[in-house]
Symmetry: C2
DNA sequence: CCATTCTTGTCCACATGAAAACAATCCACA
DNA sequence: TGTGGATTGTTTTCATGTGGACAAGAATGG
C-alpha cells in the first residue's frame, strides 16, 4: 500500500501559495479553486451538501432522511404511483427504490397493491400511519424550506429555484 | 420481512390522479410534486444528479469521478495543501479523504510530504504524472463545463453560479 | 518540565447507493 | 397460439462514503 514518498522536507511552496501574508495557516486559509471556481457541478455539489447538512440539523431526532421524506411526500401526492415512476422522478435506481419501499412497508407507512391489469407493477399509497407521519412532518418541512435559504433574498431564492428547475428539467426526464 | 398487504385490487384511484385523460400510463405521466415543487433541496439534488450524469457521459472511459478530479485539481492549484483543509473545502470526511489520497498515492499521481514543523499533518502535491494527467484532462473538463448548462443562456448560467456560491458560501465553511 | 487537552490523519465497522443478473409478466406479431 | 423481446421489480454483489475509536504529535497551562 505504498507507492509513496514521505519525504521530510518543508521548503519552497510559499511562492506558489496565493498570499503568504495571510499568516494564520488554519482552515480559513484562502484556497485557490482554479477552474472549479466556475464549475457548475462543483457548486451544485457544495450547495447540496449544505442543504443536506441543514436538513439533518432540522430533522435530527426524527430518523428521517431527505430522500425518504421525498418518497413519502410523492406517494402522498400521487396515490397509486408505481415504483418505477417514482424512481425515475426522483432519479433513484429502481433497485434502491425497492429497498426503500420495502423499509416503508415494514414500518407500516406504505401499502403496496398489485393492479390486476399489470401484475408486474406495484402501486404505492400511504397507510393511515404514513399519512399522519407526513402530515405531522410537513409543517417542520415547510418551515425548514422557508429558512433554508436565509442567505438569499426571497427573490434570489425564487430565481435560483427557477434556474435549477430549468437546468435539470430541460434535458428530458433522466434516462 | 412483511408488514405488507399485497392486496390484489385495482379500483378507485383514478379519481386522485391528476389527469386521467392522459391515457398513456408511461413515465411521461404528470406527477404531482406537491411541496417538493418549491423545495430547494429537492431541485438541488435533481440538478446535481443531472450534472453527475453529464459528467460520466463525458468522462466515460477515463475512470475519473467528479470528486476525484476535483481533488486533483485542487491539489494542483494549491501545492502543499494539507489533507484536512482539502477535505473541509470539498466537504468530504477526513476518513474518506485519507482513502482517496491513498489511492492517488498508489497510482503515483500525488506525493505526500510530512512537514517538519507539524509532523502530524501531510502536505499534498501532484507528481509529474499527476500534473500531466490534470493538464491533459483539463481541456475536456473545460469543454464539458461550457456545454454542461446548454439548457441555460450564458447569463442564466452566470446567475445560477453566483446564487449557488452565495447559497453555500454564506453560512461559513462547512463545520 | 510534565500533564492534560486538542489536532491530524488512519483504521475498522457499518450504512448507503449502484450495476448487473434474474424471474415474472406483458406485448407484438406471425 | 405461442414465441421472442421488452418492462417491472427483486436480489446479490460491489463500490463509495460515514462514524467512531485510535495513535502520534502539538499546544496549553500549571
Amino acid at each position: 500500500m505504498d507507492g509513496f514518498d514521505d519525504a521530510e522536507t518543508k521548503e519552497s511552496d510559499v511562492l506558489t501559495r496565493p498570499d503568504p501574508s495571510l499568516g494564520t495557516v488554519g482552515a480559513d486559509q484562502a484556497i485557490r479553486l482554479g477552474p472549479l471556481e466556475r464549475s457548475l457541478g462543483f457548486h451544485l455539489r457544495l450547495s447540496q451538501m449544505r442543504a443536506f447538512t441543514d436538513f439533518f440539523e432540522t430533522f435530527a431526532g426524527d430518523g428521517l432522511q431527505p430522500g425518504s421524506l421525498s418518497v413519502l411526500i410523492l406517494i402522498g401526492e400521487n396515490p397509486g404511483i408505481r415504483q418505477g415512476v417514482l424512481a425515475q422522478t426522483l432519479m433513484i435506481k429502481r433497485s434502491h427504490m425497492a429497498k426503500i419501499v420495502q423499509g416503508f412497508g415494514e414500518k407500516g407507512l406504505v401499502a403496496r397493491r398489485v393492479p390486476a391489469d399489470d401484475r408486474r407493477s406495484v402501486e404505492l399509497r400511504l397507510t393511515d400511519k404514513g399519512e399522519s407521519l407526513v402530515a405531522s412532518t410537513m409543517p417542520k418541512f415547510l418551515a425548514h424550506e422557508a429558512a433554508s435559504a436565509d442567505s438569499l433574498t426571497a427573490e434570489e431564492r425564487q430565481t435560483l429555484l427557477a434556474l435549477l428547475t430549468k437546468f435539470h428539467g430541460a434535458k428530458g426526464p433522466a434516462r
